[in-house]
Amino acid sequence: MQVRSVHSGSGLQLQAVAMETEPHPAKNLSVFRTTEADPARHSEQHAAQYYTLSPTHLRTVFPHGLPPRFQMQVKTFNEGCVMVRPPALEIISHLKKADYSKPALHYLLYGATGCGKTMSLCHVLHYCSTQGWLVLHIPDAHLWVKNCKELLPSSSRPSRFDQPVQASQWLQNFKVTNDHFLSKIKTTRRYVWTKRERTEEGRPLAELVEQGVNRVKSSSDVVGALLRELRLQAGQGDFRLAVAVDGVNAAWGKTSLKKEDKSVLLEELTLIHNMRKMLNNDWCGGAIITALSQTGSLYTSRLSYLPQELLGQEGFDKMDPFVPVPVSNYTEKEFESCYLYYMDRNWLQHPNSKCECYTGFMSDLRYPSTAGNLFIIKSFKTVCGPSYCSNFTYNIILFIMQ
């Protein structure tokens, strides 16, 4: 067992840490954390470090965006800490330099299952939100193409199908995120929902969203109208629009929904139709940040993760041209950060995991470069539920990180 310093490139990190703002006097200076909470100021020097999301931001920016395991972890640890990683930093740097008078750019996060695509997406969205953008976040497009109990024929168009529950839920979350914008932006035309309900031109968007939330039957059409308004008005320069879609391959994949034992085509779903229109880069004044996901997708092989495989020919052509951002497994440094973070939170309970035996212990797990991060975190959380830490035989659990 060789003794190694905790972070191999620790010299730079320590210097950087020393130059940052005064750390909490109560806490020890931890090399895996950074006190820089503003994503705009994150850079390579913060790579592999955890930054804390403030509770207000957690509530407003991510009512529905975070992965479920991360939400459980936030609840357990009473804080939301996100690791700063190169894919997110890359996208943020592009966003800083982009020209917003040109059509919106596509950014596509892709990688193997459990590598951190959704978390990187959330990091980027946090940046957008702190910069005052309007964030349109579809947390999982797969939820709109499967397991839909109610599928109503559309009120406006005869050949379409509505999903009232999903649409209204999404509208509610959208309202939570972008409340301050909704009063400022006005509608550009008149919408007639039913014989008795209509929204006039020039009304604030908040009314539109209210309409969708209250009248569940027309919520899918409200979503369509909302997206259209935002598309038209983002180009006018008042605000920047960030369209974030997780699991974007659902828009061009297959659906398992059936209407009276007849399969429904993807084009016939209102929500998907509107989403596809949004993903077209024929509007300016914003960015389209997407992430692929195999986990929830239908009829795709478990091992596929490349854009070509998951998007299909049609999807790839529609998304073209895009900026591909690969997301890979944790590097050694990131892995050590993760490990130290869980140690700090007292999540890992094993006599061997304390510092002195740390290096020998780590040498036990030092083997694969193919370790999946989600599997690491999952295995960190195996056996004990998310809400309590227990003394489990860690030597059994840890060597599973492969």
Binding site: D364, R366, Y367, P368, S369, T370, T382, I396, I400
Partner: protein, 374 residues
């Protein structure tokens, strides 16, 4: 010529050995008459309950005479076959005589039976004859008298203030007590389970005494050596490939799957199964756990590159087969003591459980059809 002569001799022995019916009626001067009957003199008889055979069917003298005749015949046979009579073994006898007719030394033909227990006047020789289990009880009495002797010795030492507790105790490591069957065989008597338990209790009491080491010989006579199980394990020697890197291969099976594994030394911990990475082949944590357990147990996690192939069975069976194969391949890299540890951890035991067959008249292997009262 030799063969025909052998045949003649063989037939003679066969007659003697088979104890054909009716020819012998042992008339003793004793009141009790021992009737002879045809006994199949096969080796299987040895396994039978010796005590149940009752007192002997043939007198000592008869048996002795048969044994002498056997030895004479053996020497004649050796001369006929032009071989040295001193080194003429049982196998040679079997070979020279025609295979149908077996010819065995006296111990196998006449199994060990209790000799006649009473003299001419009908009085039994042994003082415990009327207990019914004379050998057993006499053994118990002997042991107890030994215990008493040791205790008396201890008392003497105590009276002289020389008593100390740290004397050499009888070492019982690596051996086991006699089994009930073995004890029955040595005593030529039936023993009940209760009797056997009492015997073990008494002899353990003897062992537990501080100065019991005096009776070590006696006690060890009732112990049998345990074989070290791992010495039966065959360990393949290490093979070296062109670059001088050590590797070893092994197979494993579990349920319906077979796995074959190659462990290469000085690796980085890569693990390939059927060309795929193990993370992709086994998405379930439990399976990966099974794969890594042998390496983790031997503390050689990052040392090897594993290249394996597995077919058949389900995911759990494949994981089990791989685990067994890895443990076997790992044996070549391990020091001696660790092999025994692995065996005791259960890593080297193939799991014998297979799917039980479905029986007719039932739904499945165990499940019955719905029982209707009427």
């Amino acid at each position: 010529m030799a063969a025909s002569r052998a045949a003649v001799v063989g037939s003679l022995f066969w007659k003697c050995g088979s104890c054909s019916t009716g020819t012998f009626l042992i008339c003793t001067n004793v009141n009790t008459q021992l009737l002879s009957r045809q006994i199949c003199a096969t080796p299987a008889m040895r396994r039978k309950n010796l005590a149940a055979a009752g007192p002997q069917k043939f007198t000592e003298e008869f048996i002795k005479k048969q044994v002498e005749e056997f030895n004479i015949g053996k020497r004649h046979l050796a001369n006929m076959m032009d071989e040295d009579p001193q080194t003429f073994t049982q196998e040679d006898i079997d070979v020279s005589i025609r295979p149908r007719r077996k010819h065995h030394p006296g111990d196998q033909v006449f199994p060990r039976q209790t000799a006649v227990q009473w003299g001419e006047d009908g009085r039994p020789f042994h003082y415990l004859f009327y207990t019914g289990k004379q050998s057993y009880y006499s053994l118990m009495h002997d042991m107890f008298s030994k215990i008493l002797a040791v205790e008396k010795y201890q008392d003497r030492l105590r009276s002289k203030n020389l008593f100390s507790l740290d004397t050499k105790q009888i070492s019982l490591a690596g051996s086991r007590w006699l089994l009930k069957e073995e004890l029955e065989e040595s005593l030529v008597e039936n023993i009940s389970d209760h009797d056997f338990a009492r015997f073990i209790q008494l002899i353990e009491r003897l062992v537990a005494l501080p100065y019991g080491a005096a009776e070590e010989e006696f006690v060890l006579g009732y112990r049998r050596q345990l074989e070290v199980q791992s010495s039966k394990q065959e360990i393949q020697p290490l093979q070296y490939d062109q670059k001088g890197v050590a590797y070893s291969t092994a197979d494993g099976r579990r349920k319906m799957s077979t796995a074959s594994v190659t462990l290469k030394d000085s690796g980085s911990g890569k693990f390939t199964i059927n060309g795929m990475d193990q993370l992709h082949y086994f998405p379930v944590l439990q399976d990966r756990e099974q794969l890594l357990f042998p390496l983790h147990f031997a503390r050689m996690l990052g040392r090897f590159d594993v290249d394996s192939s597995v077919t058949g069975g389900g995911r759990s069976a494949q994981a089990g087969a791989l685990r067994l194969a890895i443990s076997r391949a790992l044996l070549s890299f391990l020091p001696e003591g660790q092999v025994e540890d692995m065996r005791q951890a259960g890593l080297l035991t193939p799991d014998p459980r297979v799917k039980e067959r479905k029986k007719p008249g039932q739904e499945g292997a165990r499940k019955k059809f719905t029982w209707k009262k009427r």
